[in-house]
Symmetry: C2
Subunit: 603 residues, 2 copies
């Protein structure tokens, strides 16, 4: 029998000392719980992704120094710690710290270099699966991407190496829908290899990514034995009945598999000496029943309770919105706090984007850390001003009203000689947005606040927004959120409470930038009910326009949307970071040239 | 004897039809010149780098359709054309178009995935070197990165395959000092393999990169037989005396080399049927003497004369500055024109950055396409206003003076209740810069101009600049230019003429942002004579601070600089694109996290 603790922790990139201390605390808790093995996420020691910090020799050296410090604290158990291994080149690696020393190193074999990942920029791939022999049990190690490939190291470890327990250290960034697909894949791997599969994932926000946690323990039939929370630190303690796995293997037809592929990968086997430990008894959690060889013993983190952590409520009628809301809340909190800010400021227009951004900020940071600013213009409607005020009051945030008319007039007079004879157009519209951006930045600079941009993904996709205006800020919580999802988040937040901060009229009125008289978004764009699914097909599914038209969307709207999408790449290059919550975010996830004459649809 | 034409062309990313037409024109010229072979740069058909356009199936399909169109136009010669090959996956490839058909394909084997490159994101590496047999001559093909590795496909092609002529299709981005190192490497490869080495490089600007041209023909001793211009389209025609190469090989001790490495790579050999062609005679260029087997026949492009192309003048006492100036000029012209703009606008402060940016813009686009705007404030000195005006007059550009005081006052009054009791600080400084940025953007929006940012690399490195203010714009010509290099560019431009547009006082006065009374850059920063070499060591050479201190720079200044560098990553994420001219530019070339607790020097 093997007792394993999974520590789902929130590392901070570059904070080697802080991450090491949290790992040491996790080891301590695991030891108190009588665990044989404690596992931490991929690159838990450095944070993920460290990016070009990996090119700083001192960063790698100090990471190794902290690993040695942790090795000394591993007496009485085996700790699997993600770190950067240097040996002629760099490797994304898992250290096996055993009873006071570094006993072995596993090196990640499958390096992701797609989407948001650039691992070939930094690492050389490992070449050898690793099986640890510990008290009569065999454990196979792998890191993140490794487990996504059928026939990867886990297969060699289980089939050739006989590992009954497979442990994967992961840093898997969130997007909506990912958890279900990942769970399905992990369950399949466990069943395929008739092995317990213990998956420990990173949690927390890092620039444009949020890691969702959702660590898992699957039994050898692919049943979920225990699962950790999403979007918060957590801790799982499970026991693996190794003898049961062997019994199941004897009767599982797939275990005596035919040789389907090439020969097995070269396999390393490391025998770990036994460790003296006190006797323990297994305590089943109430309500759990023994279905396979993996038995949950405890969960929940007494170690690092996070203030304000609000994990997704799966009971909500819109669980996707609940999940996205939780993801963004964590991303805001981590971006603000890990960068040393405490307060944020944002513009409140009375519209839906700023309302949802304000709710997210309050849930992430507390109302006392959020400042809302209303900047009405000659084109602002009464209901907008009213909606902004009632939102701020409902949330209990500091609220300023600073009308832009005198500043707008001053610009108009200054520019009048140059603009003489030209009609009011997009120049004046953008000017108003930039006056607001300038005011918010002045407040941010004066008081040391971080400006949140309220710009959403639909607008950024088609370039319907003002650079240095509403697109300005230090962080853009809705950057990867379509307009329709913004509405879903709003309704979710009002449903969930506390309170119903977003005014009904904000939800009900047609979206408008209010930069000229009676302006509506639909003056310039297809209705969002049409625009958003077209954009999802073009961006998130990378489909060509003809395929989107073949799905039944009106040809004219698809053409228009595709043209706007490709023409506004230059704007997206200058937007603030914001968290990825879809399969394809703007930013490093989608790398289009600005200078680009290719048009999929002739105009 | 083999006659080869190298067409150093300026492709546009995504402009498949336009690039194909230019390739067809190059083939036509080569045919008129009696060439056996004509070679074009890497991915000449799609432009380089196409980035995520490669994920659009139609982009790849159309690239193939245009290749077939070109194949039909290859009657009577052999054309080597960079294109994207699709066969289960994508390959960065060279098509061998021979006498009307696609006769063979070479697939790039070494895929760069460092610095600005992400080729593993898009391509699978090729596995086989390729030798073409043509009229009794053997040609070995390779693509860009391939030739940078000793023992790559060129070695297999020459040593195992007997290729007397090695042709490398390249898209090698410029940075200062690169050409000399590249020439040295190419010369060494030619001598190592006792082969003629013909190198055809892309030229032109693409977003943050500029490709420098400098195509080359080296003989089998590593002597430069012919070279094309830098920073302009060009055309080289050479003859290779294949029999001479064979003679040299017989007496070169390294040809009968010992087997030093693993066995040779798997080699493909394609026999090309002979082509009927008229007889030709060899014409040596005047002044050239026959040193090796490669004989220059003609150079210079009658095909695509580029208006305003001003290649670097190697006769200048500062040839590096001349080269960087030529590189940026080309980058501006291509960014502006390929993106469909004709005019640019920029702020003229009277300082050195805006003066040099204005000169570059005028040389790239013509004075009639450049608009300068002076926005004096209460802190602007008389000499600054005077210097801005005299620069604009000397360059003959449109010039507006729009003082910002009334707008600044309007903001001050609006913010007074919130700012009450707080001293004038960076908030007010940034406010002035953002008023200017807003005015420039209003002009750009109203008239359809592109705003050039005048921000330089030294400022961006330490965060000494205002987001949405002086850092605003569509393109930042000096983004990768240190302050000291800005001065060198200024002196070069005044030396070279026409005229001496940059006022002596702009060159002589201490740099100042003029955002508060008597402000100097040295109030906040080390002097540039110290700052710039420290930054070059930290950024361009990726050295840790302790190494920079060990080089003899004052510890306190190195610490300060390193701290400012890492703290201002967030600002650099929102800056406009600008052209890479150093070994390590900010942007895709240097990928640091914003959220980052790692400090190399404890504070």
């Amino acid at each position: 029998m093997l007792r394993v603790a999974l520590v789902q922790m929130n590392s901070t990139v570059g904070d080697l000392a802080g991450n090491a201390r949290r790992i040491a605390e996790g080891m301590e808790q695991a030891r108190r719980d009588g665990a044989d093995v404690v596992a931490f996420p991929e690159l838990a020691l450095t944070g993920y992704p460290p990016e070009d910090l990996l090119f700083r020799p001192r960063f790698v050296t100090e990471n190794r120094r902290w690993l040695d410090w942790l090795a000394e604290r591993s007496r009485g158990l085996t700790a699997l710690v993600g770190f950067v291994d240097r040996d002629g080149d760099l490797y994304n690696a898992a250290a096996v710290l055993h009873d006071g020393r570094l006993a072995a190193v596993y090196r990640k074999m499958a390096l992701p270099n797609y989407g948001v990942f650039d691992e070939y920029r930094y690492f050389r791939p490992g070449t050898s699966p690793l099986v640890l022999k510990l008290n009569g049990t065999s454990l196979g190690l792998s890191i993140c991407e490794d487990i996504w490939y059928p026939g990867g190291p886990a297969e060699a470890e289980a089939v050739a190496g006989g590992a009954e327990v497979l442990i994967n250290l992961s840093a898997s960034p969130y997007h909506v829908g990912k958890v279900a697909g990942r769970d399905r894949m992990l369950a399949t791997r466990a069943a395929d290899y008739v092995a317990a599969l213990l998956y420990v994932n990173l949690v927390g926000g890092q620039d444009e990514l949020v890691f969702d946690g959702h660590s898992r323990a699957f039994d050898e039939k692919g049943n979920l034995a225990a699962g950790a929370m999403g979007f918060a630190e957590d801790y799982l303690l499970v026991e693996v009945q190794v003898e049961r796995i062997f019994q199941h293997r004897l009767v599982d037809p797939r275990w005596r598999r035919p040789a389907l592929a090439d020969g097995p990968l070269p396999l390393s086997v490391v025998e770990l000496p036994p460790v003296a430990r006190p006797a323990r008894t297994t305590h089943l959690l109430p309500g759990e029943r023994l279905r396979g060889a993996v038995v949950p013993v405890a969960s929940g983190s007494a170690q690092h309770p996070e203030a304000g952590a609000a994990p997704a409520s799966p009971a909500d009628p819109d669980p996707e919105a609940a999940e996205v809301y939780a993801a963004i809340t964590l991303a805001i909190r981590d971006y603000v706090r890990k960068n040393g800010f405490s307060k944020v400021v944002l513009g409140l227009s009375g519209g839906i984007d700023s309302a949802v951004t304000a709710c997210l900020a309050v849930d992430a940071l507390g109302a006392e850390n959020v400042v809302g600013v209303s900047n009405p213009s000659r084109f602002s409607s009464e209901h907008s001003k009213e909606d902004a005020r009632s939102l701020a009051e409902a949330l209990g945030i500091t609220f300023y009203i600073l009308p832009i008319e005198p500043v707008f007039k001053a610009y108009e007079e200054l520019l009048a000689p140059v603009f003489a004879g030209r009609p009011f157009d997009v120049a004046e519209e953008n000017l108003q947005a930039r006056i607001r951006g300038t005011i918010w930045m002045a407040l941010a600079n004066k008081f040391g606040w971080l400006l949140l941009s309220t710009s959403n993904k639909s607008e950024a996709a088609v370039g319907y927004g003002t650079l240095y205006g509403d697109m300005a800020g230090g962080f853009a919580p809705l950057k990867d959120v379509s307009k329709l999802m913004v509405y879903r988040l709003a309704r979710y937040r009002n449903r969930r409470g506390p309170g119903q901060p977003i005014p009904e009229s904000t939800l009900a009125k047609p979206p408008s930038a209010e930069l000229r008289p009676d302006q509506k978004d639909t003056d310039s764009l297809p209705p969002y009910e049409l625009l958003d699914p077209i954009l999802a097909a073009l961006v998130e599914e990378d489909l060509p326009p003809e395929a989107v038209i073949a799905m039944g969307y009106p040809e004219e709207e698809v053409r228009r949307t595709a043209q706007m999408l490709f023409r506004s790449e230059y704007k997206r290059r200058q937007t603030p970071p914001g968290v990825k919550v879809t399969p394809r975010a703007f930013g490093r996830d989608r790398r289009y040239p600005i200078t680009n004459r290719f048009r999929e649809i002739s105009s």
